[in-house]
Subunit: 344 residues, 2 copies
DNA sequence: TTGTAAGCGTTATCAT
DNA sequence: ATGATAACGCTTACAA
């Protein structure tokens, strides 16, 4: 019952009649553990009957690594990040690594990093954390893998963000839309910027301009999307299609359209990005660009693990492909849609 | 650059010209640290200029506690659990505790517990883990707080699950429904069972019986809800209202209704449970029973922290109140609804 | 093949 | 008020 009742490797050694380091050698399962089969057997048996379980903290201190990974995401409650985390945990857990989670939005990333580093974390996965803006010292001495943020300094995995924007644009252009708007956050999170850039470029390549009143800044949340869409619908002229930087925004926008009795997709087409589960649950189902969130998390973890195994990080790997998932929120541009942009 | 460059408390002591334990005394910020103001000052200054950061792993080993909490949830990707986690992390992080997350669905809870315990975790939050079925030894020596599962052995916090079921029943009965069905998992997760029980009891109290073909077992997921609702709609007679054990199921059910062109709420009323964000995003918006997920997580963490501080766990605290949120998926029972139950 | 000894970075218990 | 000294549980040379 008492907490002190824990079985240590000493107890095992004693029980097996060997020295403590010998027990360590056996239980450490070392590759080149030169230990007699008979002794090994006795030690293992003792460990089993005593119910020995290694103290990872002590191991960590002695070996200088903790067999734990840290994951920092901007917001736990965003399903996209939940997916990334799930993917990372799957890999980490299979490799015997524990996962320290930091998602508290209120605290700065640097503070989370502090916590993790002081716990001798073996590596950190930073998702959309804008690592470039971090204090130089904050990340020295840690193995870092970035998710959805390119960098010369750290390896990482990312989705094809400009491709996502392009795909959205091409889809809308293909449907005949010319009066096109965009809703996205003003944050300096790389992925969002690239989605926007890819979108705008593809539009421009088709000689469609995106007038500034139709480039709405909004937080990447449902509420943000709803507000932005309301503003858009109250504008002098209305776009016939909108690309939203993520699905949360798009769902909010859809909501605003429903409130305003704007028919989707008859009067207004909407494209989101991420393809979170929610996208298939709204009505009509959301057309979106699918981003492999779980895979992103899993690859990030694998990359980190490989780094820990001593492998040289090969810069950024090729971005993960995204794909258009055409569903119910996009349709042909209305015939009466004036291709004219509003007064800027 | 080298990882070994980490400054230890020794370096600080040396730099300040004091013994290492003295430095520890100062930096440990002990309540009754009897140390001369001058020395303290020197030590603090040395620590600051050297950029000293305590090694939590070493602290853990020496003090026998790790200042980390473990959280085990059945499924990271269920927004309800994401909320619980967010609430717990908020509290833990504010108290200087790190959070180890285990949500890998494939691995058994006992295995997750193993990982956590071997890391000298100070306490564990178990959410819907069916702790009662765990091996007796698996939880000895750990501080445990249960979420949404009552127990004589461990303290915990829970929502008012039977109340949730009752509220749903009363709402539907009040709207005149008599042909009522239920969709829920067959798992032995306590909350689900109690939601069901509260619901069935309230129905019975109003002399409404729930015929067995209308008690559908389904996984607590969107897909599960959709399948179950399809089966329900294909039955000989259809219910005029359905209570779903959680929102995910309800959303799936709503989806199935839409596919079958059954009008909600004109022909079919639907009530969910949890009030996840998604509930407000589907069309029509989901009537549901709001369960304070974040608060549940936050309280669990606080309870655990208090236990660690030596406070005696006072059994289970009173369940957190839930409340009906009437939205768009419920309406008066159709006039032609036959109150007759189907042949069982 | 095995045991001895040192050390990981702290905290904690003593004398001083 | 401060400084030795011994833990904490384990790993890892190095010696036997």
């Amino acid at each position: 019952m008492a907490a002190s009742a824990r079985v240590t490797i000493r107890d095992v050694a004693q029980h097996a009649g060997v020295s403590q380091p010998t027990a360590s050698l056996v239980l450490g399962n070392h590759p080149r553990a030169r230990v007699a089969p008979a002794t090994r057997e006795r030690v293992l048996e003792a460990a089993a009957t005593l119910g020995y379980r290694p103290n990872v903290v002590a191991q960590s201190l002695a070996r200088g690594r903790s067999f734990a990974l840290g994951v920092i995401v901007p917001d736990l409650r965003n399903p996209f990040f939940a997916d990334v985390i799930a993917g990372a945990e799957r890999v980490a857990s299979a490799a015997g690594y524990a996962m320290l989670l930091c998602g508290e939005t209120e605290r700065p990333v640097a503070s989370h990093l502090d916590t993790l580093i002081s716990r001798q974390i073996d590596g950190v996965i930073l998702d959309a954390a804008n690592a470039a803006s971090l204090d130089a010292g904050a990340l020295t001495g840690v193995n870092v893998v970035l998710v959805d943020e390119p960098s010369e300094r750290w390896p990482g995995v990312a989705s094809d963000a400009t491709g996502a924007g392009r795909l959205a644009a091409e889809h809308l252009l293909g449907l005949g839309h010319r009066a096109i708007a965009f809703i996205g956050p003003s944050s300096d999170v790389h992925t969002f910027r690239m989605r926007e850039r890819g979108f705008v470029r593809a539009l421009r390549a088709a000689d469609v301009t995106l007038p500034s009143p139709w480039l709405r800044r909004a937080p990447a949340t449902v509420a943000g999307g709803r507000d932005a869409m309301r503003a858009l619908l109250n504008g002098r002229t209305r776009p016939s299609a909108v690309f939203c930087a993520n699905d949360l925004i798009a769902v909010g926008a859809l909501k605003a359209a429903a409130e305003a009795r704007v028919r989707v997709p008859a009067e207004l087409s909407l494209v989101g990005c991420d393809d979170i589960e929610m996208a298939q649950l709204v009505t009509p189902e959301l057309t979106t660009i699918a981003v492999p969130a779980r895979e992103l998390g899993a690859r990030a973890a694998r990359l980190l693990l490989r780094q820990l195994a001593g492998e040289k990080p090969r810069a950024q790997s090729a971005p993960l492909a995204v794909r258009l998932v055409a569903r119910g929120t996009t349709g042909p541009a209305p015939a009466d849609a004036s291709p004219a942009a509003p007064v800027a």
